[in-house]
Amino acid sequence: MSGYALYGVNYYPAGEITGLSYMRFRAMGKQWFLEPPFREPPLVLLESTPTLTMVGVVLTEPLTGELWTCTMISDGYKGASSKDCSTSATDITVNRSIFVGTSALFEPNVGVTTVVSNNLFFGGEECSSACPTTKMVTFAGQGNLTVVHNKVYGGYGGFRILAPCSTFKAWEDNVAAGNAVGFNLEVEGSCGSLFLEGYRNSAGITANTQEVMQTLGRSSKCI
């Protein structure tokens, strides 16, 4: 990458992951037992990261339990972002991937697109203790969310929905199975008209909304 040296100064570009495809993370993340910033997820992205595409990725033997959520790094790293490493400004595509013991937060800003399709999320005992798998997959933000053909197994909370209905451009065949709570419509503005399909969750749905429509539950103890 020549050309970044000029007048005796090295100019280093912002980091970029041009693709993660059909690869596997093992034993990634660190220091789950410490508070941030000492605890780090496997991926520490920049707020300004334009795109991230993950296809066919596998993450097992996690040490943190979060995929990319992290907290502000105030100092100590030359060149590190001074802002929260949010993914809300990043166009994210996660497709055909498998995450074990790892939660993921999707919260696109207005104009930002997130596509989550054909993925499996496993909770349960895969992570070391204190891993935050209590809320496996969270959808928030005001951008464009496409969520199709995903399954969440065995987490404390399966799908956590904070985003309003206008955010969901597509929602189809998303199944929560074997979780303590299949779907958690956590805030009053959470979209309550998504088709929620749950199997053998302890509680199919918990909601803080006025109305919940289109649910389908099987062997869940309560809705």
Binding site: Y12, I17, Y22, R26, M28, K30, L63, V100, E125
Partner: protein
């Protein structure tokens, strides 16, 4: 004319001095590294076993001499070029240069290292700095691995396959090991002034490009089409298992409330879509049989009273392939690292890929003469290459000679 000759002579002397210093600088770093004794029990790089007088490790013993920050790709290349005798006892990479040599060590602002192809397994390095492009040979015929504590993509690129040429070799593994004396300790300080700017954290730092593309897999997840009972070792799936091989690892989801997934090794594939389970890492017995029953059938429901149209309830178990031919590991495995000697219960086990914002730093060997305005950049420092003291001495000497010459002329 005399002034010009003198100037050129001094410049020549200066360049010779510079090159001598640079070479010494490199040699000094190498010497430092080579003289570092084994400060913990040496381990065999391949097997992980302890070395001893009875069972020496031969060439692979004492691999921890490479745990120093000076070990960068620059040094590696330098070593290959000069065939340094002191490192002949260590197995090393056969990096192929397809570009020019690195410039940084000579402090010239010339072409950066263009491209290196990694086609063998590296020894254990403390840091690997990538200023140019390091490409893992995408069609390697043997298993490859890269072992390091820190990988610093510093303006360069690390390409482990890309969209057009994914890595299709049998296996590439990138290990972030850690050193038992630094990374195995309690590490609550990101920056440790006694070690490096990265402290005792092991990570992949990206100020450039990271591309990781493994071999595409046609079917990542399949679904059961028959119920399976506990104790079964054969699963009937809803499609062919192209790309799944005997020995691969799969995960089978639970269909019970609060159930745990089960892991198996593929024992065989029959008729393209029937999976024979091999050994299991989650089974108490280790045998390739299901611990709990799995649902493999669907149910259709319809309820006009609640306006529920005919709907398929599909709570079937899934089987997913976990094996990939490219892996990034935060340690040797999830329980133990044979280099650092620690496991996840100690601090700083694991690894992180951290993207950094754009930043800049002064180049070694350059000095600021003065500041100047440039139209497209509001302020840019005008710099000159080489060592400042030498340069200033050169300029001062030239000035003195010029003055002396003038004085002599006046006297005459």
């Amino acid at each position: 004319m005399n002034d010009l000759s003198l100037f050129l002579s001094l410049s020549l002397i200066f360049l010779i001095t510079l090159l001598t210093y640079s070479t010494f600088h490199v040699s000094q770093q190498l010497a430092l590294n080579s003289s570092v004794p084994c400060n913990h029990e040496p381990l065999d790089m391949n097997s992980g076993r302890m070395c001893s007088a009875e069972l020496p490790c031969g060439d692979n013993g004492c691999a921890d001499v490479i745990i120093w920050d000076g070990w960068t790709v620059h040094i590696m290349l330098r070593r290959i070029n000069e065939k340094m005798a002191e490192f002949e006892a260590v197995h090393f990479v056969s990096l192929f240069l397809t570009g020019l040599l690195y410039p940084n060590i000579f402090y010239f602002d010339v072409v950066w290292l263009e491209q290196v192809t990694l086609d063998v397994t590296t020894p254990f390095m403390n840091s690997l700095t990538i200023r140019g492009t390091l490409i893992v040979q995408y069609d390697a015929v043997e298993e490859l691995a890269l072992h390091a504590n820190l990988i610093n993509i510093k303006g360069g690129r690390l390409i482990i396959g890309n969209a057009t040429h994914p890595f299709i070799g049998p296996q590439f593994q990138l290990f972030l090991h850690g050193d038992m004396y630094f990374h195995g300790k309690e590490c609550t300080v990101p920056v440790n002034e006694f070690i490096t700017e990265f402290g005792c954290w092991k990570q992949i730092v990206v100020n450039g490009e990271l591309s990781v593309y493994g071999k595409p897999i046609e079917a990542v997840t399949r679904t059961l089409i028959r119920d399976a009972a506990a104790g079964d070792s054969v699963l009937y799936l809803d499609g062919d298992l192209t790309g799944w091989n005997i020995g691969d690892e799969v995960i089978v989801s639970s269909t019970e409330s609060g159930g745990q997934p089960e892991y198996f090794i593929v024992g065989g594939i029959l008729n393209g879509s029937i999976l024979q389970l091999g050994s299991s890492s989650t089974s108490r017995t280790g045998l390739g049989v299901l611990a709990t029953p799995k649902i493999g059938t669907t149910v259709e429901v319809e309820d006009q009273a609640s306006n529920l149209d005919r709907t398929v309830l599909d709570g079937r178990a899934t089987v997913s392939l976990l094996s990939r031919n490219v892996e990034i590991r935060g340690g040797y495995d999830s329980t133990y690292d044979y280099i650092s000697g620690v496991g996840p219960d100690l601090s700083n086990y694991g690894g992180t890929i951290r993207l950094w914002d754009a930043w800049q730093e002064d180049k070694d060997g350059w000095c600021v003469l003065f500041h100047v305005f440039i139209s497209d950049v509001w302020l840019r420092r005008l710099r000159v290459a080489f060592f400042c003291p030498t340069l200033l001495l050169l300029l001062f000497s030239t000035y003195l000679c010029h003055v002396s010459s003038v004085d002599i002329g006046m006297t005459q």
